[in-house]
Symmetry: C2
Subunit: 201 residues, 2 copies
């Protein structure tokens, strides 16, 4: 799914007050062939004009709707260690419609603290809060050994999408979308290519 990346660069172009962009230009920015971009977009509609390109504003609006960014998403954050706090303070979520509206931890030294406007709750309160605030997305930023139980709990409460920062593959039932952020996997993928694909000198 490349639409989010398209939205990314369209946001930038929109911020630069540009009006129109071609598949050629988008392709260069994203290191993707123009044909690829046209195919991707044509699947969802006819956004472009021949001879001109795509209206940045229109395309952006169209894509944002398709990806579901024309609405607000309430998010629960579980785990308020260093990583959780970094996520909470990240300013990039709100402009895209994602708002962390509840924070949970199991450490009694952290529970009750106020971190960035939110009072940290016990994981025991998860069920009640998730339901009350209509939370559909969870972010798991707890130590590895607790990640699966936290996930199970989130799923039981009705959360449908989970962004996982723990370095293990999480299990979840059909219908629950999981995506993992794992820097070590990314680094290892790169070392693989460094070791195996370096140009002979």
């Amino acid at each position: 799914m490349r639409l989010p990346q398209y939205i990314r660069v369209l946001n930038t172009l929109y911020g630069e007050s540009l009006e129109v962009v071609s598949s050629q230009q988008l392709g260069e920015m994203l290191q993707v062939t123009p044909a690829q971009i046209r195919k991707d977009l044509s699947y969802f509609g006819r956004f472009g004009k021949q001879g001109r390109g795509y209206s940045i504003k229109n395309l952006l609006a169209g894509l944002r709707q398709i990806v579901g960014l024309d609405r607000h998403w309430n998010v629960a954050l579980v785990g308020l260690g260093r990583l959780g706090r970094a996520i909470l303070s990240y300013p990039g979520l709100v402009p895209e419609g994602f708002e962390i509206v509840a924070a949970f931890d199991s450490n009694h030294e952290i529970i009750g603290q106020t971190v960035g406007n939110l009072k940290v709750q016990t994981v025991g309160e998860l069920d009640e809060t998730v339901t009350a605030l209509d939370i559909t997305i969870g972010i798991v930023a707890v130590p590895t050994q607790h990640a699966q139980v936290v996930t199970d709990q989130l799923v039981r409460c009705g959360v449908r999408a989970i962004l996982n920062y723990a370095p293990i593959p999480l299990q979840a039932p059909e219908g629950v979308k999981i995506r993992s952020v794992d820097p070590v996997l990314s680094l290892q993928t790169m070392t693989y290519y460094l070791v195996n694909c370096s140009s002979p000198s």
Copy 2:
């Protein structure tokens, strides 16, 4: 490239003192078909034994070598805001052979500070340090508007792989591997599926 994920779960299994694992079991843990796993592994060699499965220890050693984890990788971290500090304190890098051996920032309030054993240097010292310490991997954790120039500088110093935390697609010359960690893209991918693939009720 799925090898890093295989290494992940093999590490876990190894820690549980298990000896042998089948493609079936690995597949369940990773939500991948057994055939997929056998194909992946067969590309690199014949690691398994019919009727038994794969020796966890042997497979792990084999894969670690293929991915280049049988050696040590020196890493430079650029940007020591909240995110950079979270990365620096992440204990998962060293066991896999990645060591952050230098830290850089452009903020004069941060330069000179000691963060987790490392003295934060100015980005002006990047060239010298990267060369002196034989650093081949860079982590970019700076504000969006500085990410591209920092990348260019790392590339000039000879860094061959960059892990990017800034929410923009970075440009780099052929031969330099870039991988981006972007939670917002992950969230948007999930909302896309939530909005478009939810079972009709």
